[in-house]
Symmetry: C2
């Protein structure tokens, strides 16, 4: 197969990979490494403190969160996009942008096709209007559920995030605790995790960070519940401690209550062989197979049932499902196939106006709508 | 003369005109009214709570500062730009954007020429890089001094802000006080105004707002100086009280210490016949003619000399200079001429690449450079 000349455009907020948090930059890092390993000629546009096997083009020396405060985030990203498109578009077979909407006015001007991965939730009116206005772009969702606010646009595919197989270690023999991992934010519902642990009399470790924005919630809703022999509050942890905590847990207790487009923490747990107990919302019923890799819960009774029956889940099966669905290899292969599809579909043409393009693409949409209908109907049957 | 079909694109942060602060939206308001009055067919893109004689197209019902918090400012502005350019560009002879940089990726795609007025200070590296990258656009500065960080780009003109002649009332007989008007922000140096008033034993009224960001500065640097029989602290005032305070002042004491691209408050004072005592920085030596409409000061001694000699300035001359240089009529005429120049210079052509365009425009730049050199040399000789 012909090797591709690929541009990866990362946000500049964090380095690639990020020093600490930064889901998007982490995914861009692994994807870029995977594409290079498969022999593609990859150019990564990211901050100068990034580490990559690809050619790095850095419009700023340091990630914007750490670097000079003088920079305007939007303008720095616009300058980067201007460089990618206005100076270099002809050097690439495909441009893959992780900058979402800001990419649109550039991407629509150039013949080199662009793939746009949406990393955030889309159930916001402005966002939906933007998706619809540029419906003919090659949009990529990170879960099928993420598409629900705008199912009718030109989704080129869903590509789940993936991790290298060796990044997390499988452990068949966990210790006697459940784990809550992430931030102490209201939408992740650590209070519910604590309440469930106390009700079921199970040992729960809370390894989570308190962001400044979450302080009030933590003070009023979480802290008052911590005083219990069942609850162990650990605080923020680094990557190696995170791996250790994950692989020794009986299960990840993840009562999130928001339409999370993809929960990286769930595949991190599965990679360790640790099952996941999660509320049915966002991507959770896609990532977790009810009864096989954990439990997808609709009510507190479901959660309690899941906790009591966690031993019916095979840890080997959890790891197997990770290897079958969520490795870096899968992610890279899916993106590669998607790039080739998008390149093949891009007509060799002088740049046409948007209205013409959306007309051209409208004809192909009936197929997609059909597959989406399948998705909608299968959605509550994990 | 042929009437023009003009698009005015305002920020959506405040309504047009703004309910309180919002210099850009205020200027857009008067400019739009003036253009309509001259018979042009103007379409104003602004928030739905705007008031205008033009056709209003509003992507949001309420200005973003007041409206639903759900909106992303950038995305709402991008949606508006997409509508202006991708749906309607053909309906206009000229598009005048006050959204600065965000306009660029749209404006470069369409044949309808765009005029970009820069409303903020430009001495920021990112901004300068952006100006240079798109040097061939029709950039408009609001003072000549604003251009200093990037003198070499294609400045289509400087257009000073202007106010309707009747908005402020001329008063030949002021009362016995000087006025500081604006915000209590460090760069506007109210502390210096107070120190000067105490040293010269003159009565100073301070009509200014304390923004949350300025609280610490106010507490530590201003408040300790307020306790003096010469200082009267008034607080925030509305438009009618502002007019009254301005026209009854012996002078506006304006010791700003930042490169202000244009100080609206200075022309408000002149419109009342009130002279202005100002530090030499930013646009001040352009707006204030030393010895005629006030004093442009380099040192504390200059300020003290100005205060003691304020009666040598003719209030009638101040008003006359306002009428000669800073009325709405002037602003509208200058923009109208500038639109016609830009339209005439725009080649009837299929959209060309940016590099071709900058080549085309480079040939015309020598004239401009010459006039800019004049500006640089004349800069300290008001």
């Amino acid at each position: 197969m012909k090797k591709l000349r690929i541009a990866q455009i990362s946000p500049l907020i964090e380095s690639v990979p990020p020093k600490k948090y930064g889901g998007t930059e982490r995914v861009v890092y692994y994807l870029t490494e995977g594409l290079v390993e498969r022999g593609h000629e990859v150019t990564l546009f990211a901050s100068g403190d990034s580490v990559t096997s690809a050619r790095l083009i850095a419009p700023v020396t340091q990630s914007l969160r750490l670097g000079r405060k003088i920079h305007s985030t939007i303008i720095m990203h616009m300058l980067m996009l201007s460089k990618v498109y206005e100076e270099m578009a002809g050097e690439f077979d495909i441009i893959h942008s992780h900058l979402e909407y800001l990419t649109l006015p550039y991407a629509t001007r150039f013949q080199t096709p662009t793939v746009l991965t949406m990393h955030g939730r889309l159930d916001v009116p402005d966002y939906v209007e933007m998706l619809r206005r540029y419906r003919s772009m090659a949009w990529v969702s990170i879960s099928d559920s993420q598409r629900l606010p705008a199912p009718e646009i030109n989704w080129a595919g869903t590509v789940y995030h993936g991790y290298p197989e060796s990044l997390f270690t499988f452990n068949p023999d966990p210790k006697e605790y459940f784990l809550y991992l992430g931030r102490f934010s209201e939408e992740k519902r650590p209070d519910e995790a604590i309440r469930l642990a106390r009700a079921c009399k199970i040992h729960l470790k809370l390894a989570a960070k308190i962001d400044p924005a979450d302080k009030a919630y933590f003070k009023t809703k979480v802290e008052p519940l911590l005083d219990s022999p069942y609850i162990e509050y650990i605080g923020e942890v680094d990557d190696s401690r995170k791996g250790e905590l994950l692989r020794n847990a009986r299960a990840l207790l993840n009562p999130i209550d928001w339409p999370e487009p993809f929960g990286l923490v769930m595949i991190e747990a599965l990679a360790c062989g640790t099952p996941v107990i999660v509320r049915r919302c966002g991507s959770s019923p896609e990532v977790i197979t009810h009864g096989l890799t954990g439990f997808v819960c609709d009510s507190q009774l479901d959660f309690i049932h899941a906790i009591h029956n966690i031993d019916t889940i095979s840890r080997a099966a959890c790891r197997r499902e990770f290897e079958r669905r969520f490795t870096l290899g899968h992610m890279v292969e899916k993106y590669e196939a998607l790039y080739r599809n998008v390149i093949a579909a891009a007509p060799a043409r002088p740049p046409t106006s948007l209205s013409q393009r959306s007309f051209q693409l409208r004809r192909h949409r009936s197929n997609r709508r059909q597959s989406f209908r399948k998705l909608l109907h299968g959605y509550h049957l994990p």
